[in-house]
């Protein structure tokens, strides 16, 4: 207990130190790199509190993809004079006190928990066999709370539509520019060798997600990262926003989800209910579709909209 307590304390102190540093450091680039390191540490924390699935998601999406996304806009930190106004000292003290109060309140909730910890774990375990999957988190995402997962993919799609609608006039329908003018040779080599391996790993992570930590979100992020690598190395340019194949890839997952969900009315009596014995194959079908769609959504979110001057 003592040695793990030492490790836990070290981890917490490092993370809080890194978080404060991210807020106070002047260089935006450094803050973003700090955020990515923070994501790595945070995924260690998820392992320590017995949530390896969340750890995988955090390392891929929370630290990795979000960091890359922030890096895309790091140059804009100095934009606009009004956005660089420094608040007065009393205001800063006030905000500090209020933020501290929120943290204290949350901390009190953590230190004084309810006498009986609320949990749905026994319920989840009870019905696990009927879903045919072994990983309870996958069962929650795909069976018990499938509606949440469905809405989530729609939210990601809506975010992508939002990003696309910020395309400047005249560039609508063009390809987002990802590759730099001259691609360094090592990057090209990495893209040529890593991408086939990465695609296998992404599909593997999704596949084992049925019974072990993993799943479509983690797998899709790896696939999206591989796609980004291909685009950055200039092996393939990003698809045009008007590309029909891209749009089909984006909606195939949600479409399968809706189709199976609606047919649940007829075969199992409720939206998104799976007929007895067919839960596993149906979940697999949805996951396969979602893997493609989410990978496409995340990849296009990372690529961003076409910029001013791009022509379709």
């Amino acid at each position: 207990m003592t040695e793990t307590a030492f490790f836990d304390t070290l981890l917490v102190v490092t993370m809080i130190g890194l978080a404060i540093w991210m807020i106070v450091v002047r260089d935006v680039f450094a803050a973003i790199i700090g955020f990515m390191a923070f994501g790595l540490l945070l995924s260690l924390v998820w392992l320590r509190i017995e949530a390896p699935d969340v750890g995988l998601t955090e390392i891929a999406v929370g630290g990795g993809a979000t960091g890359v996304m922030l890096l895309r806009a790091r140059g804009l930190a100095s934009a606009g004079d009004a956005m660089n106004a420094v608040p007065s000292v009393p205001f800063r003290v006030l905000v500090g006190v209020l933020a501290g109060a929120v943290a204290l309140f949350l901390g009190a909730l953590v230190v004084f928990p309810p006498a009986v910890a609320p949990t749905l774990a026994p319920l989840a375990a009870e019905h696990l066999a009927s879903t045919g999957v072994g990983n309870p988190i996958t069962a929650v995402l795909m069976a018990y709370r499938a509606f949440d997962t469905f809405l989530e993919t729609v939210v990601v799609l809506l975010a992508l539509i939002g990003v696309w609608s910020l395309t400047p006039d005249g560039a609508w329908g063009a390809r987002p520019r990802v590759a730099s003018a001259d691609v360094p040779a090592p990057l090209l080599l990495l893209a040529q060798w890593l991408v086939p391996l990465g695609i296998v790993i992404g599909i593997y992570i999704t596949w084992v997600g049925a019974d072990e930590p993993g799943g479509k979100f983690q797998g899709a992020t790896i696939l999206a990262a591989m796609w980004m690598l291909v685009m950055m190395a200039g092996l393939r340019s990003a698809p045009a926003l008007s590309s029909r194949r891209l749009r089909i890839a984006l909606v195939v997952g949600p479409a399968i989800f809706i189709a199976i969900g609606v047919s649940g009315f007829h075969f199992a009596g409720a939206f998104l209910a799976y007929p007895d014995g067919l839960a596993k194959p149906l979940i697999l079908a949805i996951e396969a579709g979602l893997l493609i769609s989410i990978a496409a959504m995340l990849g296009m979110l990372l690529a961003g909209p076409p910029l001013e001057g791009d022509r379709p």
Partner: protein, 126 residues
């Protein structure tokens, strides 16, 4: 271990609470949009962590934690990423609209030929 009120989960829960506080502070006070987005993600990380600690305390039936909040956190992380993507793009677009030319960062690679259609915009911004 049930008797101990201060276990590993509590430690990480307090860490999550502190992250929310630090993130809120940066979110309100930092004037730069990108850093606001960064701080917002910090708040999110803290909230997810507190949620994860609640999941850990709900460990039962042979699971290391309550799978329902864990699954919701996975959903939350992905949605937070989408929101970040939208926010970053909004800020990018906003700043390219505000400072017509001579934009630092990535937009610098764009030759100013793009805004031939909006000659009045630069005057309005300055």
């Amino acid at each position: 271990m049930t008797g101990a009120t201060f276990d590993t989960a509590t430690l990480y829960g307090l860490c999550g609470a502190a992250l929310v506080g630090i993130g809120l502070f940066g979110l309100v006070l930092d004037p730069k949009p990108i850093r606001k987005i960064l701080a917002f993600n910090l708040v999110g990380a803290g909230v997810f962590l507190v949620f994860g600690v609640i999941a850990r305390r709900g460990a039962a039936a042979g699971f290391g934690g309550d799978p329902v909040p864990q699954a919701l956190v996975i959903t939350g992380i992905v949605v937070a990423f989408s929101a970040t993507a939208l926010a970053v793009t909004l800020v990018q677009r906003l700043s390219s609209a505000a400072t017509d030319a001579g934009q630092p960062g990535q937009a610098a690679s764009v030759p100013p030929k793009g805004e031939t259609g909006t000659p009045g915009q630069g005057d309005a911004a300055s």
